[in-house]
Symmetry: C2
Subunit: 181 residues, 2 copies
DNA sequence: TGCTGCATGTAAACAGTTACATGATTAG
DNA sequence: CTAATCATGTAACTGTTTACATGCAGCA
């Protein structure tokens, strides 16, 4: 079976409730799915055009002052395609986690290197967690039938980040032990 | 900055200790890095050829009986490139987790669908965890200066899987509550 | 004037997967 | 004898990213 392009489903999904421009979709992704699904500009705009050509979304030009936006709305055909995807069993997706790969290839001799990688990563995770917690507070105030699902998928990301945080702290602890020996 | 092909580093890393054939590398990946880094045959063989052309690995023909293998060994230049990579700060890598994406787009009305997705995923995770635990026992018996790092990266994978397990069980619990209301 | 954010896109390059193709060996 | 596993690869296709290109709006 050929690999299908899944970017379309994020776009369709984000258009389910309110029409949006490409830029707004990009912003929405950053605020909501970024921790488990990313899209870049260079995927979003061409995909929206493609979806429009297929009749899955419709485009309307909106101009606020001299500023122009293309607002996309999902069509019934778009909804149908989206729900067909939603019903299908999600495929297990592999992850490629360069940080762990480096860790995997280290030995005790690399401990200076290891420490710096671990510490950097810990700071990144701490920063991400702070963002997530802020987002969580914001989301708690949102009223939508989807609010529960937004919150819980965010909490899944938080839980994963916390696992890494604890794991790294454990590794840093081990590293200290080694130095004292 | 251009995106670099990172497949090479897994191959070089796996050749650090013992020379291997492409097939053996594939097997090693399945037994060790599969949960945080995957490679397919169609990446491994061409990449080994490329590395050989660059002088990062050297190829020797080995025939056990009538069976032929190409055994690759890492060269000093290969080691150098590997350690330069190891020293560089790992880039944060995005993940694309279709399962969560579907969850994110669900509403309470989709609960039948949701239940089947959640239950299927739970079974997949349970199966993966069983594999991981088996691997963990095997690894405990291995004696290598790298054993610690192998074990701990596996445990990172186990911890992540357990987070998803708990998260899904929680969602399934919530789903039951909804049905009773 | 220049910077940041809004807004949309294209071209080129590369990454990565799927499907296909081949053939030997070994265990049942 | 046949299925599974060992073993190596290629071709075609798609996905994805990076870098580039453009221009308006608002503010300091």
């Amino acid at each position: 079976m050929k690999k299908e392009n899944k970017s379309r489903f994020v776009l369709l999904g984000l258009l389910l409730q309110t029409p949006k421009s490409g830029y707004e979709i990009g912003e929405a992704i950053k605020r909501s799915t970024e921790h488990f699904w990313q899209e870049s500009d260079a995927s979003i705009y061409p995909m929206l055009k493609k979806l429009a050509k297929e009749g899955k979304v419709s485009a309307t030009l909106s101009s606020v002052g001299k500023r122009k936006k293309i607002i996309y709305s999902i069509t019934p055909q778009g909804r149908q395609e989206f729900y067909e995807w939603l019903k299908r069993a999600p495929e297990p997706d592999g992850r490629r986690y360069e940080f762990l790969l480096k860790f995997f290839f280290c030995t005790k001799e690399d401990h200076a290197l290891l420490r710096s990688h671990l510490e950097r990563r810990l700071r990144e995770i701490d920063a991400a967690l702070e963002e997530y917690k802020k987002l969580e507070e914001e989301l708690k105030a949102v009223s939508s039938p989807r609010q529960y699902f937004w919150l819980e998928s965010l909490r899944n990301g938080i839980a994963h980040a916390e696992v890494d945080q604890a794991w790294i702290e454990k590794q840093l602890g081990e590293l200290c032990q080694c130095l004292m020996q």
